[in-house]
Symmetry: C2
């Protein structure tokens, strides 16, 4: 894996994005931000699922007026997502928002950029601004010059927005470069990485529905993270955003960049398997969901790779004919009939992580 | 994206693995190979789902004796997965198998390796051998020397098996290096890429259950493919292998390495969205499943990124308040009420891909 790119750090409420800080997981509410109850409920659901930064669309003044309420009642930092209207950005800052997502090139000139930037810096913790370039809303002249929403066009758009903020001595910047094309997204981040040291918010935009969108996001974010790029991430899925959080966690955990609990490895089964492994793996996954320590639990079907993999795990089972060998930290501790495997694993798990 | 690694090509029945040939998708039956009817049925299901190479576990002589029947009745090339017993490999070759997966270091000495290799080369199309190194079944001395199943230990194991085949002038080799750790897997392939030019079969072994296993596989295979590594792939999921095929296709399609039909991009929705986008996206995904051409269909919730993204798509909808703008190849062609969006998209899709 490439070493993580060296970046500036910016503070988002109690969190820090960039530097050597953990790659944080974001999501965004889908509720109407003018609806106080529904939006606060969704913020809480996201936070309970492990979302570390929650973004809200702020399309108008009514939505902006609710931000103070959300900021007061949320236990995670909030980001106001604003397009075009700098008044909404000023209101959001006054409301106590922890970060803005706004593209300074779209708010009507240098005076307004200066006003927003000055106000963002006035706070005790300066409020960072994320420049969010999206292939779907690039400037017309860039589309014309580059022949479409290419990675180079996206990077040039980002640099324009960055220069506007730098011109007013504002440097608490996060940048995202999202396209629905996975290769275009990765290439854009790779190009921009050579031209600035602001931290990256990474994501594949409009990835699609739950399952296919998760695959596309995992491919793209997997490649980006492997290249050392990415300081905070959002998985964009059409549907309940709570699902985005778990997928983001799974992606980071797959690359061992962060740990959110136990990892269950389970074999695909084959003609050698003589126990009902799929059912067993699902039951183990449920057991594991309650574990908050980074254990590895192996659920293996046969004697070929089973014992080896189970040996490397903190806890494991390797199936035989209607029975299972239970492993704990590399040692076979017992052999049990198939219908007692789950009970045996549960018992051992409780010994490994008492009270987790 | 890194240029694809230059490799030798090996022929697997009518398919070629390596060189510039398309990265093929494999899976493996989970049925008992001794059960003729169930196994042939699963081969057919996998083939119907788009699986291009099907592997069968061959644990004993009874299973091996069925291979001739499967080879005769399968419309995709078959691979016999054999451990330890060279007799089974000889039987599989006689049965007309298209590829063997066997680790020559485990079959009892150079004479037996020579026997299997000679027989594999006798056929009109020589039968390639995949050396499948798995972190869960590494040689004891390597585990001891390397302090565990490290990427270096996996590579050394692969090189040992490779040398045994090369010693008998057998070069139709494919190699896999699988671990349940995603970073260890990627690193192992990166190391071996510097030491041989045999094509790679890539996969994350024991990835887990359907959803989490798909994410882990997409992260790992996404990073490998981005690095230019991989000539054939298998997604290993606990459960029905038919699902592995679709996930493999989605991974390759996400990186635009192959196309298996239409891509639906859909936005995650946010507080700006005023139509029921999730339901719409699912319905569009169903429409798109019948399309075999590489179209891009965009389902967008609002006016911020919607029109831009929809413009780049072959067909698209950008939602407004209870209505949708329908785009075709960059042009707005009509505005329809929300309940007529699907019908309008279907109509346009039929014009774009008549009879598909």
């Amino acid at each position: 894996m490439q070493p993580r790119r060296k970046t500036k750090s910016v503070q988002v409420g109690p969190l820090v994005i960039g530097g050597n800080h953990p790659i944080s997981i974001q999501s965004m509410t889908t509720s109407d931000t003018r609806d106080k109850a529904a939006t606060l409920e969704q913020i809480r659901q996201l936070s309970a699922a492990g979302c570390e930064i929650v973004r809200l669309a702020v399309p108008d003044g009514e939505a902006a007026d609710n931000l103070a309420y959300f900021c007061k009642n949320s236990n995670v930092p909030l980001v106001a997502d604003i397009h075009f209207d700098y008044h909404l950005a000023l209101t959001a800052i006054e409301a106590g928002i922890s970060k803005l997502r706004i593209n300074p090139g779209n708010i009507g000139g240098p005076d307004r950029v200066n006003l927003v930037a000055r106000k963002a810096k006035e706070r005790q913790i300066p409020i960072p601004i994320r420049i969010g370039v999206n292939a779907g809303s690039l400037e017309k002249d860039l589309l014309a010059n580059f022949g479409g929403p290419t990675p180079e066009a996206m990077v040039e758009s980002a640099l324009r927005h960055i220069r506007l903020l730098e011109a007013v001595e504002f440097f608490d910047i996060v940048v995202s470069l999202k396209a629905s094309s996975v290769p275009a997204t990765i290439e854009a981040y790779q190009l921009l990485a050579q031209q600035c040291d602001y931290p990256f918010h990474i994501g594949i935009t409009e990835a699609g529905t739950w399952f296919k969108g998760s695959i596309r996001s995992a491919v793209g974010l997997g490649a980006l993270l492997w290249e050392g790029l990415g300081d905070t991430l959002r998985v964009s899925l059409t549907g309940d955003p709570v699902r985005e959080v778990a997928v983001g966690q799974d992606i980071l955990q797959a690359l061992q960049l962060r740990s959110f609990g136990a990892t269950v490895v389970s074999c695909p089964t084959c003609g050698r398997c003589q126990i009902n492994l799929e059912s067993l793996a699902f039951q183990v996954e449920q057991l594991a969901a309650a574990v908050h320590q980074p254990l590895k639990i192996a659920v293996m079907g046969c004697a070929v790779n089973g014992p080896g993999e189970a040996r490397e795990a903190d806890l494991g089972v390797a199936g035989g004919k209607g029975e299972g060998l239970i492993f704990r930290k590399g040692e076979i501790i017992k052999k049990v009939p198939e219908d007692q495997i789950i009970a045996a694993l549960k018992e051992e798990l409780e010994k490994l992580v008492p009270g987790d």
